[in-house]
């Protein structure tokens, strides 16, 4: 650690590491130096000139955002000259800025509004005609209103530097300079909306949210995105029982302010007109709406009857339901229904990793590790397509800390832009390629290996053995596909596994075996759609489906119970790194119940003693009983992410055959993704860049 530098800001002494910028040093003292273009984590711009300060012995005002601290430096931020400079910058900024705050989306949370209020003069001497340019639509989700733009270049930088997408730039010059999309009149990009979020004014607005509400009219509910397995926190803006927007401006959660298109916009599935809002029971060959009492009664009756005669019951769990629901479901199946046939669609071989690590909990990387590790190796995954937060984290690590990233993939990936080595391999050739990197990797001080669903079973063992052979600290991330895919394994949604990767005494059928068993009596599917790709052999089986929509599987069901989505319930989910985070309900949808509530009602109808079916007691039970889940409750309660530490999975025969990664792209997400209008509108939008090859 280098010697600290001592300086004085507004007469108060402060010390800072060499290289610290004056604007940041002032923050330590609680002194705000206003700025538009300065943005933590992005390159310096010095374009807005709002942060001009007086520095002793400097002939003119200097920009605090580009000025590194120096020993003995004397900075003044509260002098008449500085105040005058701020006033004139704001006056200049407002010359062409339309004063349409009352109809602007940003009104109420606009940085220009705040600054004008705090530092401005209150009136303008500009009596000329303002430059007007008509509004443009860049993409289904991005609108651009040029006159409002103050050209702080934040959007350009977050897109180019943060995402590596390079979809935004500047055309023209002078007062008619304009932010422009990469394809002339439209954007071809990740549609992540980071540019909209980062815009300090209302220049870039969201096609989903614009003209819908004022920020103060909404409830802001921080919950976890229900799509991929990265576990981003998204803050949903809710008004009138409708989600109007998603963002994460408070930078909380594992993702900071990052969100991809799914976290930011794809919540719209829950308002889809095909959303089920009443239980359906098949009568006369057709599914007809009935009351909850009738539907639950029908299910309880058949479940009891099947259990009584020792029939074959199969239970399929979900990649998106909460840990509490998954835990309760396996308990329901194993204790209540007496069946060991419980499974889910496996998207990555987590048990293989845990058994290879043999209890070394510290070898599991967290999302934060991706930002700090000195080196990372990405195997068989296109992070930008399937794990956008991780792609962002690794890139930020490279930008800020010069992390050395290696990739071993089938096709080109985003990380190629900066990776030190990018190897292209045919399917199955990954391990050989990884092993060829050994001489380079041995020289790294530490390594995080991220591997996709293509690496499973023995390959995982081989990968861990390779990691062990490097002689450096190595951490792993087994990439799975959906928001609680990891939790599904952790909670024992597998015939061979009890919660916490304990071996199950009487393993029942796997998912594939259930579908193939001609004598299956009951199939209970919770939040999954196995019949999308397979058929059910047992034609006479009684099928119960809990889902949001009439999926291919629900269409075959005898009873369909409308379920609540992740945004409508409480509970916890575990991301692919094993970090547990809490969901908070954002709204209620009429007619639906959370899966946990449905389990509780069914248990009661069947007179089963399974304990209280509410999230809190079930989570307490998980914390007490499931190895690795003894996480501090306070961390979760305050919105944090708690890393779990699963024990070694002892002697489980690996089942690589059951792992079937979903190969989603940035704009698809299993069955659920089909019901998001935003995702489909983006898919239909012209553009070749992000159709995705899949890994």
């Amino acid at each position: 650690m280098a010697e600290l530098v001592h300086l004085t800001i507004d007469g108060r002494p402060v010390e800072a590491a060499p290289g610290t910028l004056v604007i940041d040093a002032a923050k330590k003292l609680g002194i705000e130096i206003p700025a538009f273009c300065y943005y933590e984590g992005l390159s310096l711009q010095a374009a807005c000139r709002m942060c001009l300060v007086e520095v002793e012995r400097a002939p003119k005002l200097l920009t605090a955002c580009t000025l590194p601290v120096a020993e003995g430096m004397v900075v003044r931020t509260a002098t008449p000259a500085v105040a005058q400079a701020r006033k004139s910058m704001l006056e200049l900024l407002l010359t062409n800025h339309p004063l349409d705050c009352p109809v602007c989306d940003k009104g109420g949370e606009c940085e220009l509004q705040d600054m004008a209020f705090r530092y401005g003069v209150g009136e303008s001497r500009f009596a000329e005609t303002k430059v007007h340019v008509p509004e443009k639509q860049f993409s289904p989700v991005v609108f651009f209103d040029a006159p409002r733009c103050i050209l702080c270049y934040r959007c350009v930088r977050i897109c180019n530097e943060g995402l590596g997408v390079n979809a935004l730039g500047v055309v023209n010059r002078g007062a008619v300079s304009e932010i422009a999309p990469n394809r002339g009149d439209h954007l071809e990009c990740d549609e992540c909306g980071a540019c909209i979020d980062i815009c300090p004014v209302g220049a870039l607005t969201s096609g989903i949210y614009r003209y819908h509400a004022r920020p103060w009219e909404m409830e802001h509910v921080g919950t976890i995105c229900t799509f991929c397995s990265n576990g981003c926190k998204t803050t949903l803006g809710v008004r009138g029982n409708r989600i109007l927007r998603g963002n994460n401006r408070d930078r909380s959660g594992v993702n900071g302010e990052f969100l991809c298109i799914k976290g930011r916009y794809a919540f719209d599935f829950l308002h889809h007109p095909e959303r089920l809002q009443s239980p359906l029971v098949r009568s006369g060959g057709e599914l007809r709406p009935v009351s909850w009492v009738q539907a639950l009664g029908a299910v309880a009756e058949r479940f009891l009857e099947a259990r009584a005669r020792g029939g074959r019951i199969g239970v399929v769990g979900s990649n998106r339901t909460t840990n509490e629901e998954n835990y309760f479901l396996q308990k329901f199946a194993r204790q209540g229904l007496g069946t060991g046939s419980i499974d889910h669609r496996r998207t990555g071989d987590v048990p293989a990793l845990l058994s290879a690590l043999a209890g070394r909990g510290d070898a599991l990387a967290t999302v934060a590790d991706l930002y700090t590790t000195k080196a990372a190796l990405v195997v068989a995954s296109d992070l930008a397509q399937q794990h956008p937060l991780f792609a962002f984290q690794l890139r930020a690590n490279w930008r800020h800390h010069h992390a050395r990233v290696y990739t071993v993939t089938r096709g080109p990936v985003r990380e190629d832009q900066y990776s030190v080595q990018a190897l292209r391999v045919p399917p199955g050739g990954e391990l050989e390629a990884v092993e060829s990197l050994a001489p380079a990797l041995r020289k790294e001080p530490e390594l995080v290996i991220l591997f996709g669903g293509g690496i499973r079973g023995a390959a995982v063992q081989r990968l861990v053995a390779f990691g062990d052979s490097l002689g450096i600290p190595v951490k792993y991330v087994c990439l799975v596909d959906y928001s609680n895919s990891r939790g599904a394994f952790d909670m024992g949604l597998a015939p061979e596994l009890l919660p916490g990767y304990q071996p199950a005494p009487n393993p029942g059928l796997t998912l594939a075996e259930m579908l193939a068993a001609p004598d299956l009596d009951v199939l209970w599917v919770v939040g999954a759609n196995p019949l999308r790709e397979a058929s059910l052999a047992a034609e006479k089986a009684f099928v119960v489906v809990q889902d949001l929509f009439l999926t291919e599987t629900a269409a075959r069901a005898d009873v369909v119970l409308p379920a609540a989505s992740a945004y409508e319930k409480a509970g916890t989910v575990t991301n692919t790194c094993g970090e547990v985070q809490r969901l908070r309900p954002a709204l209620k949808v009429m007619g639906v119940k959370s899966d946990l509530e449905i389990f509780g009602l069914l248990a009661r109808a069947m007179r089963l003693e399974l304990g209280g079916a509410r999230p809190e007691p079930v989570f307490e039970e998980i914390r007490a009983n499931v190895p690795g889940y003894g996480v501090p409750a306070a961390v979760l309660a305050t919105g944090g992410a708690a890393q779990t530490c699963p024990a070694a999975a002892p002697e489980i025969p690996p089942r690589p055959d059951l792992v079937r990664p979903a190969s989603d792209t940035l704009f698809t997400s299993g069955t659920l993704g089909r019901y998001s209008k935003v995702l489909s509108s983006v898919l239909e939008f012209p553009g070749e860049l992000y159709k995705g090859a899949g890994e």
Partner: protein, 436 residues
């Protein structure tokens, strides 16, 4: 562009080959002391070359007047990175037209100057960044480069010395901003021509992030003489700390406009009257812009002064790029201020707020004022807006727009007042002295 008739008062150092038959050819250049400076430089140590340039008191001819030798000495010779020589031929300052002549009539002098700089800092590649409007010069320069390569004055193992140096021409796309050194480098690298945050300065991190010597064409053109005749000889031509001669671009309302090479410190009034043949049509002198449109204007009474960097700074203006614009008694100064601001509003790159919005605002304000829509408060506002830009913009373009505007308002306030209340421009009767 045809070269104007020379004046007997000129001291022709850089322009001595102008007017010779086939002056752009290597043969003519060699026949008139060509590459002798370089041959002498080959015998010197790099530090000695730089010392010679320091001794000459050669100051940057682009406008800022930074001592060239000092600039070269900032280049870390021991850096493992490649080093570059860049000639700023983006001559865009209104009133300035000297570099085009230097390139058109004596391109080899520029190449030799760059070559000597390369030797001094151990660079092996150089770029001539030519403004887009000077496209025809690219052919001349490319031909000269080809000729010099063919005869061993460029390329590998130059004159058997073991030193390699290549020169490439690169065209700008018509942006004034790209004459600013860091914006020029961005443009040279194929990016949008916007200025960079400094430090680091180009000497440390210039073209492609590598140490770079970046000088104006005229600055490089002075180097062969300095090496051939010695720094002291060059310095002796001018005034203290202002070495050598300078190409002044005399334009406006004079009888004999043109580019004249005069010693530093030449009296401005003499330049107008004796070199330029006096103000045209027998009219009286009203004002002079002494160094290109960025420089504060001088009233007729302020013009009896030596033309060097320090004297003009004392007079509250700048020597700038040598563009001397003479204005007669019938010139409307509001119109001049407007014409100049139109230029800056058009050329502002848009990077920083004060320049982008300030130039646009001033242009609209001056236009309204000139059209007779101004109020007394507007006169103060023009000065205020210009002052809110001054010293606060990202690069000097904002200052370049603000400084002359402030000077027009301060020095010719009565002309602004004459435009008030919808009164027609009092100078209009003299016809369109300035085309807006």
């Amino acid at each position: 562009m045809p070269y104007n008739d020379p004046s007997p008062l000129e001291v022709r150092i850089l322009t001595r080959r102008f007017g010779l038959p086939d002056s752009a050819s290597l043969d003519t250049y060699l026949a008139h002391d060509g590459f002798q400076g370089f041959e002498r430089a080959l015998k010197l140590k790099p530090e000695e070359i730089i010392e010679e340039v320091k001794l000459s008191h050669l100051r940057g001819r682009g406008g800022a007047g930074f001592p060239a030798g000092l600039k070269w000495s900032f280049v870390p010779r021991s850096s493992p990175k490649p080093k570059y020589i860049v000639a700023n031929a983006d001559e865009s300052e209104p009133g300035t037209c000297k570099d085009r002549l230097l390139m058109e009539y004596d391109p080899h002098q520029l190449l030799e100057g760059m070559l000597i700089a390369a030797l001094a800092v151990d660079a092996h590649a150089g770029y001539i960044y030519i403004r887009g409007e000077y496209r025809y010069l690219i052919e001349i320069l490319d031909r000269a480069i080809e000729e010099a390569r063919a005869r061993g004055y460029l390329g590998r193992n130059i004159l058997g010395s073991g030193f390699d140096f290549e020169v490439y021409t690169h065209t700008g796309a018509g942006a004034y901003e790209c004459g600013e050194e860091s914006a020029l480098l961005e443009s040279l690298e194929g990016k949008r021509g916007v200025p960079r945050i400094r430090p680091p300065f180009p000497a440390v991190a210039g073209a492609f992030g590598c140490p770079t010597v970046l000088n104006n064409v005229e600055t490089f053109c002075a180097v062969p003489y300095i090496l051939r005749e010695g720094g002291a000889a060059f310095a002796a031509l001018g005034t203290p700390k202002n070495g050598g001669t300078r190409l002044f671009c005399l334009s406006g309302h004079v009888n004999r406009p043109g580019v004249y090479e005069l010693p530093m410190g030449f009296n401005l009034l003499r330049m107008i009257h004796e070199v330029g043949g006096g103000v045209w049509k027998g009219k009286k002198l009203k004002a002079v812009i002494p160094g290109g449109s960025s420089c504060p204007v001088l009233k007729a009474g302020e013009c009896d002064l030596p033309m060097d960097y320090d004297s003009l700074a004392r007079a509250g203006s700048m020597l700038g790029s040598g563009g001397v614009v003479v204005m007669d008694e019938d010139t409307c100064m509001v119109k001049v201020a407007l014409r100049i601001m139109r230029f800056y509003a058009h050329e502002s790159c848009g990077w920083c707020i004060p320049c982008r919005e300030g130039t646009m605002w001033l242009r609209k304000l001056l236009q309204r004022f000139h059209d007779g829509g101004g109020t007394r408060a507007d006169i103060g506002l023009i000065g205020d807006v210009a002052k809110s830009m001054l010293g606060r913009t990202f690069c000097p373009l904002g200052d370049a727009a603000a400084m002359p505007t402030i000077s027009f308002v301060e020095k010719f306030r009565e002309e602004f007042e004459a435009h008030l209340d919808g009164r027609p421009c009092p100078c209009e009767r003299a016809g369109e002295a300035v085309a807006v």
